[in-house]
Amino acid sequence: MAREFRKPMTWLHTWSGVIVGWLLFAIFVTGTSSYYRGEITLWMQPETHKSVVSENTFDIALEKALKASQKSKNVTVTLPNSRTNMIAVKAEMQNKSNTKNGNQRQKRKRIPSLYYDANTGELITPRETAGGNFLYRFHFELYNIPRKVAHWIVGIATMSMLVAIITGIIIHTRIFKDIFTFRSKDNTRGWMDAHILPGVATLPFLIMITYSGLLLLNSALMPWGAKAHYGDDIRAYKQEFRTLYTNGVDKPSIPQSRATKTDLTKEQLLKVLYHKDSFDVKNIGRFIITQKNNESTTVEIIPKEAASIFSFKGLKESKTFDLYTLEQINMKNPPLSNSTIVNVNSAFISLHMAHFADSTLRFFFFIAGVFGIILSGTGLVLWIEKRKKKNLEKKSFGFYLVEKLNLGTMSGIFIAIAVYFIANRFIGVDELMRKEYEINAFFIAWLFSYIHAFFRDTLSAWREQLLIAVALFISLPLINATIVFDSLSEFYTRDSIFIYFDIFFVVMAVVLAFIASIVNKKIKAKDLKKC
């Protein structure tokens, strides 16, 4: 009975995996790199590389905050942390604008953040780049495809992944007994182990990332519930949903002070930031100065370190103080909603995006993502390995297609990412369409690896493409040093974020060189057989 049940499950596992396998591989690669979306954008803006955190950083941030507060009533200052090396100041302006029905209302005009050097306080104007945002958007919206269609494509791939995970659990009966089993053999068994090991080791992560991915796409995949209640007014639905996220927060008490603008001084601001009830000064990640029409001025302090997974986007923990009385008037401690449904939803979404994760936890998420890449990659190779003998007897087009697509997708995406990074350094800073050129370079490189795959013997093409990828990744730190560094000492004086990038490029080159050497051995063994 069990065997009979497992047979169709194996079939389902194979086909739900292989049909969308290439897309899943690309989604996993771009999604995993999205854990470092901000860092990738920083790396792709060399103008930001000289900013290093120093003793002056806090003072500079205060000065910039006060200066921005002269013009704006809502100033957000983000201090450097393990993920950014600059001070970001965002000053929101309120403009009166006419609405359709003629009434005047306050409309918030979004102003992009200004970035300052954390040591000198100089304004940094970074070059335009798609940066990490392109990879991030690609992993759920693909590129240049209508958003709804893209969401459906990615949604179907995600659902297939979920099916593959569940069927994988069913067909792999010895999950706990074989948890440490890995045999590095060049046969189906070896590839099977290489597929099962990352799958079992990161099983909770894989279930979480796939299920939460579906939840994130819910408005595209299951719009009917909202439509039945709100009709076509999706905004109303979103607005109501948004209020549910914070319905558990107490309203801030109204400050007693009636202070004027001139009272907003550095001393007063320091008193708030060093307040005994506030967070440790070293843990201050962001502060928001809000002036309410000369009635009161409040400072909301948000810590660097999140206290729970519910802390993401605008739902982070914070303490708000009145600037003059120095009284604590509000405190947010996520989860900020009373609704269990909303909290479950936000826990999944937060886990998917890992906004709460500091650099250590983020690294574990990244590793889990890498395991996901290995899982989908080895799954695709396994399909080929299992059918190799059969294909020798009778050539099949399906085998040929999967083999070539495997090559073009797997080595192609790494070549494309390396080319994307290199293009960023070579495309002129003043180039008007440099963002588009970077993205074009990514896709052209990827397309070439598909073309190369189809016109060359598969094993040789694997070796060549992997060697190209090795050369590209190893050249990246050198290109970066040549173009960005003013002096060699910058190699170690720069922020550690950029040092990690160089380490990553070298590690990638080593890993790809290792795979290339395995392929090389295979080619030699094949040649010997022929002789």
Binding site: F180, F182, L197, V200, I309, F356, A357, L361, I367
Partner: protein, 106 residues
């Protein structure tokens, strides 16, 4: 955090030593049922303890996330050692401990 990472790794080492095939590939001493049971129990106990330590230190939700996040590379590392250099597992575990101590005090 580094201590938790090591304890989770150590817990999985113990659990793998409590398994027949891995015990044989790592240990030079004769198979001993009681010893295997002790390893297995210690491993599970250590995993449970680290689960609560992480929840206590990082908060419930972050603690669980860390625990799952650390477990994946720990399992893979042990699987790799067992495949390539099984006999060196105890030695590598000691070296790993020393490396983490050095990182901690740098």
């Amino acid at each position: 955090m580094l201590i938790s990472i090591y304890l989770i790794y150590l817990a999985f080492v113990m659990i793998c030593l409590g398994m027949d095939k891995h015990y044989k590939s790592v240990m030079t001493i004769k198979e001993n049922k009681t010893l295997k049971k002790i390893f297995k129990t210690l491993g599970i106990l250590l995993l449970t303890i680290t689960f609560f330590i992480l929840m206590y230190n990082e908060g419930i939700s972050l603690g669980i996330t860390y625990w799952i996040g650390i477990a994946a590379p720990a399992i893979t590392l042990i699987a790799m050692i067992l495949n390539y250099k099984a006999k060196l597992l105890p030695l590598i575990s000691v070296v790993f401990f020393i490396v983490l101590c050095i990182i901690k005090y740098i």
